[in-house]
C-alpha cells in the first residue's frame, strides 16, 4: 500500500505540474484509524497529501459530475464502474476525465474491525501484508484482511478498473463473480418474514439521506423525497412505511444503473442492510437481461435498450 500511495502521488503531481489537469480527486489520510478521506488537489504540493490504504472506501465518482475543467480521479474498480455508468448517462465527459486506475482487492469494514474488539474504541489499525493488527485501549487483535472486507468488496469481481488512462500497481488475478446466496435466502422467506425484516430494518432509518448522497448514481436535481408539490412521501420519520417507500423507490430508480459498490450501505449511520435491496436489483437485472452496469463502455444501460425477446415475466402472465 505505501508503494501504491507513492505511485499515486507521483502520477498526480506530474499531471498537475504539466497542467494536463486542473484537479486531482483522490484520498488523503483521514482522521480515524485506517481511514481515507476524499482529497481535492489543485497543486503538486496539495497532491503530496494523496495516499492509499484499506480505508479508501468512498466512491469518488460521486464528485466528478459536472466538475469544470480537466479532472483526474484516483479510481478503484467500483469507482470506475460508476464513472462508466455516469459517462453513459451524459453526466461525465470522458474526454475531460483522466482516470488513474488502482487495482483494488477490497476495503475493510470498520464495523467488522470494531466487532472484533467488542465495539471498543479503536485507536489504531496497522496494515501488514494480508493481515491487520487492531488496537484499542485494553486489547488488540490480529485478523486477515480478507475476513474484514465490506460485503460488497468480498463479492466484487471488478477490483481491476475496467478502463483507465494510467494504471498504478499491478493488475490482480481475475476473481470469480460471487453468487447471490444472501439474496436467494431472502427470496426464499415468506412474504410475512420479509415484511417483518423490512419493518425492523427500516424502523432504524432516520431519513438522513446519507445513502442517497453517497451513491454516485443518485443525482436527481430534485429527489422525490424533497419535493413537496406534490408531496410524494411523508416527510416525518415516525412512519416506517415511508422510510421503506423512500428506500425502495431509490433502489428501483437505480435498477440497471447500480454498480454494487456498497457506498450507500457504508454511509448509513444506522447500519441498515441496504445492500440486500440494491443487490436484489443487481441480481434481477443480471438474470432478466444478462446485464451489469458499468462493466464496459460498449453495452447500453439495461433500461435504455430493448429487444423483442426481453423477458416480460413481470408484465404478462401467460
Amino acid at each position: 500500500m505505501p508503494k501504491l500511495a507513492e505511485q499515486i502521488k507521483d502520477a498526480a503531481k506530474k499531471l498537475l505540474a504539466e497542467q494536463k489537469v486542473d484537479l486531482v480527486v483522490g484520498f488523503a489520510e483521514g482522521s480515524l484509524p485506517l481511514r481515507g478521506t476524499p482529497l481535492f488537489a489543485r497543486t503538486p504540493e496539495e497532491a503530496d497529501k494523496l495516499t492509499w490504504n484499506l480505508g479508501c472506501e468512498n466512491n469518488l465518482a460521486n464528485y466528478l459530475r459536472k466538475k469544470p475543467g480537466k479532472v483526474a480521479v484516483v479510481a478503484k474498480g467500483c469507482d470506475v464502474r460508476a464513472i462508466i455508468a455516469l459517462v453513459k448517462e451524459n453526466q461525465i465527459n470522458r474526454d475531460d476525465l483522466y482516470i488513474i486506475g488502482v487495482p483494488c482487492s477490497g476495503m475493510i469494514d470498520r464495523k467488522k474491525t470494531a466487532a472484533l474488539l467488542d465495539d471498543e474504541d479503536i485507536l489504531a489499525i496497522e496494515e501488514s501484508g494480508d493481515t491487520v493488527v487492531i488496537k484499542s485501549n485494553n486489547s488488540s487483535a490480529t485478523a486477515k484482511v480478507a475476513d474484514l472486507l465490506h460485503n460488497s468488496c468480498r463479492d466484487c469481481s471488478y477490483g481491476n478498473p475496467v478502463i483507465y488512462d494510467e494504471l498504478v500497481g499491478e493488475l490482480l488475478p481475475e476473481k470469480e463473480a460471487a453468487d447471490f446466496t444472501e439474496i436467494n435466502d431472502f427470496e426464499a422467506k415468506s412474504v410475512a418474514e420479509r415484511r417483518a425484516f423490512m419493518n425492523s430494518e427500516f424502523s432504524k432509518c432516520i431519513r438522513c439521506y446519507a445513502c442517497r448522497n453517497a451513491c454516485p448514481l443518485c443525482y436527481c436535481e430534485e429527489c422525490f423525497v424533497d419535493c413537496n408539490q406534490p408531496e410524494w412521501i411523508g416527510k416525518s420519520a415516525y412512519n416506517t412505511e415511508d422510510n421503506i417507500l423512500f428506500q425502495v423507490v431509490r433502489v428501483f430508480h437505480c435498477a440497471g444503473r447500480c454498480v454494487d459498490c456498497g457506498a450507500c450501505e457504508r454511509a448509513c449511520p444506522m447500519g441498515i442492510n441496504l445492500r440486500l435491496l440494491t443487490r436484489k436489483l443487481v441480481k434481477d437485472v443480471k438474470e432478466l437481461y444478462n446485464a451489469e452496469a458499468g462493466v464496459n463502455m460498449e453495452d447500453k444501460p439495461a433500461l435504455a435498450t430493448f429487444t423483442v425477446d426481453d423477458p416480460e415475466a413481470f408484465l404478462l402472465k401467460e
Binding site: S31, N58, N213, D226, K235, S236, P269
Partner: protein, 339 residues
C-alpha cells in the same frame, strides 16, 4: 452515596413503576436511548449512544397538534407529554447539550411547551466517562468527562459499584427515595481516582475562532472546506446540539396533524423559500452555516458554543469530514489551506 452494580437492575425496576425510564439499550452494534420495561435492558458499559439524548425532549418528528375541520369549524387537539421521566446513564456531553438547547426552546421570545414540559418532568442521572473515546473533545468546549452541567445525579464507576454524586435538589430527592447506602472513604477515594485517571486525549484549540468567524464569511476558505461534504443529514441528526426544524402538515384534506421534524442545514431544501429562492444555494453556504451556527451565531445569541465535543459527527460522517480538522483549518485558514 453508593450503589452496587448488581443492584442497578432492581433500582431501575423500582423507578420504572413510577417513571418512564430511558436508558441506553443495545441495538446491533450500537446503543440507543429507549424507554425500558426492565432494569436489565440498560447497557451502561458502552460509550455514547448512536443518537443523542436530545431526541427524548425534541423528537425527530413531533406531533404538535391534531386538527379536524368540519362545517361548524376547526377542532384542535394538543397532546403534551407530561409523563415523569428519568434518563438513566446519560453522558455528561449529552446532559450539557440540553442546557444549551434550553436557550433555544426557552428564551424571552419563545417558550416551547412540548420541550419544556418534558424538561421540567425529567430527572437526569448521568454516568461519568472513565475512558473517553479518542474522538471526544468535551474539555475543549467547556465540558468534561465528569462535568455535572444539566445533571441531577452523577454516577462514577469504581469497578463493582457506582459512587453517586448529588448535583441538584431533584437528584437529592431521588437519591433519598432510593435509599442509597453511604459511600465509605475508600469508595470516595476510588471515585476521585477514576476521575483523575480519565483522560480526554483530544484537544481542539478554539482560541480566536469566534473572532475569525466574525470576519471570514466571504473568505476563500469556505470554497474548499465543504468540498468533500456530501450534504447529508448524518452529522446534524446525530448531533446533540443541532436543533433546526421544519414544520409540515401530515393531512388528508383538512384532517390530520401538524408535525415538527428535524431539519438539516446540509439539505438542499433547507431555507428554500416559497418563491423558489434559496439564500444558501450550494453546499458551500450550507456547510458554512453548520460551522457558523455552532461557533458564531449561537455564541452571538446565547453566549455559548453549540458543540459539546461528543464526537458523533466525527465517527459517523460517511466521508470522514472531521469537525476538529475543519476548526483547525478555519482558525489557521491563511496558513493551512491557501497554498
Amino acid at each position: 452515596m453508593i450503589i452496587s452494580k448488581k443492584d442497578i437492575p432492581g433500582f431501575l425496576d423500582k423507578l420504572i413503576s413510577e417513571y418512564q425510564v430511558f436508558a441506553p439499550v443495545q441495538e446491533g452494534s450500537y446503543t440507543l436511548f429507549k424507554s425500558i420495561t426492565s432494569g436489565t435492558d440498560a447497557v451502561l458499559t458502552a460509550d455514547n449512544t448512536k443518537l443523542p439524548a436530545k431526541e427524548i425532549f425534541f423528537p425527530q418528528s413531533e406531533k404538535l397538534f391534531n386538527y379536524n375541520v368540519t362545517e361548524t369549524g376547526a377542532k384542535l387537539e394538543t397532546d403534551i407529554d407530561d409523563r415523569k421521566k428519568v434518563i438513566f446513564g446519560v453522558r455528561p456531553c449529552d446532559a450539557r447539550s440540553l442546557v444549551l438547547l434550553d436557550n433555544v426552546f426557552n428564551n424571552d421570545k419563545f417558550q416551547d411547551p412540548y420541550y419544556l414540559t418534558r424538561r421540567a418532568n425529567t430527572i437526569m442521572v448521568g454516568i461519568g466517562c472513565n475512558t473517553p473515546a479518542s474522538t471526544c473533545f468535551c474539555t475543549s468546549v467547556k465540558g468534561g468527562p465528569f462535568d455535572t452541567t444539566g445533571l441531577d445525579l452523577l454516577l462514577i464507576d469504581t469497578g463493582d459499584a457506582f459512587v453517586v454524586e448529588v448535583v441538584s435538589d431533584k437528584g437529592k430527592a431521588l437519591a433519598k427515595q432510593a435509599g442509597f447506602a453511604a459511600a465509605s472513604d475508600n469508595d470516595k477515594s476510588a471515585a476521585a481516582k477514576a476521575k483523575e485517571a480519565a483522560k480526554v486525549t483530544c484537544q481542539v484549540n478554539i482560541d480566536g475562532l469566534k473572532d475569525k468567524l466574525d470576519i471570514n464569511f466571504y473568505a476563500p476558505i469556505w470554497d474548499k472546506i465543504h468540498e468533500k461534504c456530501l450534504g447529508c443529514g448524518a452529522c446534524t441528526y446525530l448531533c446533540p446540539t443541532c436543533h433546526c426544524f421544519d414544520i409540515v402538515d401530515d393531512a388528508v384534506d383538512c384532517n390530520g396533524c401538524r408535525v415538527r421534524n428535524w431539519d438539516s442545514c446540509a439539505f438542499p431544501i433547507f431555507t428554500l423559500h416559497g418563491s423558489g429562492h434559496n439564500p444558501r444555494t450550494s453546499n458551500k453556504e450550507r456547510y458554512r452555516n453548520r460551522i457558523m451556527h455552532k461557533f458564531k451565531y449561537f455564541v452571538d445569541n446565547f453566549g455559548e458554543i453549540a458543540c459539546v465535543g461528543c464526537g458523533r459527527c466525527i465517527k459517523n460522517c460517511p466521508v470522514n469530514m472531521d469537525i476538529r480538522v475543519v476548526l483547525d483549518d478555519v482558525r489557521g485558514s491563511e496558513a493551512r489551506l491557501d497554498s
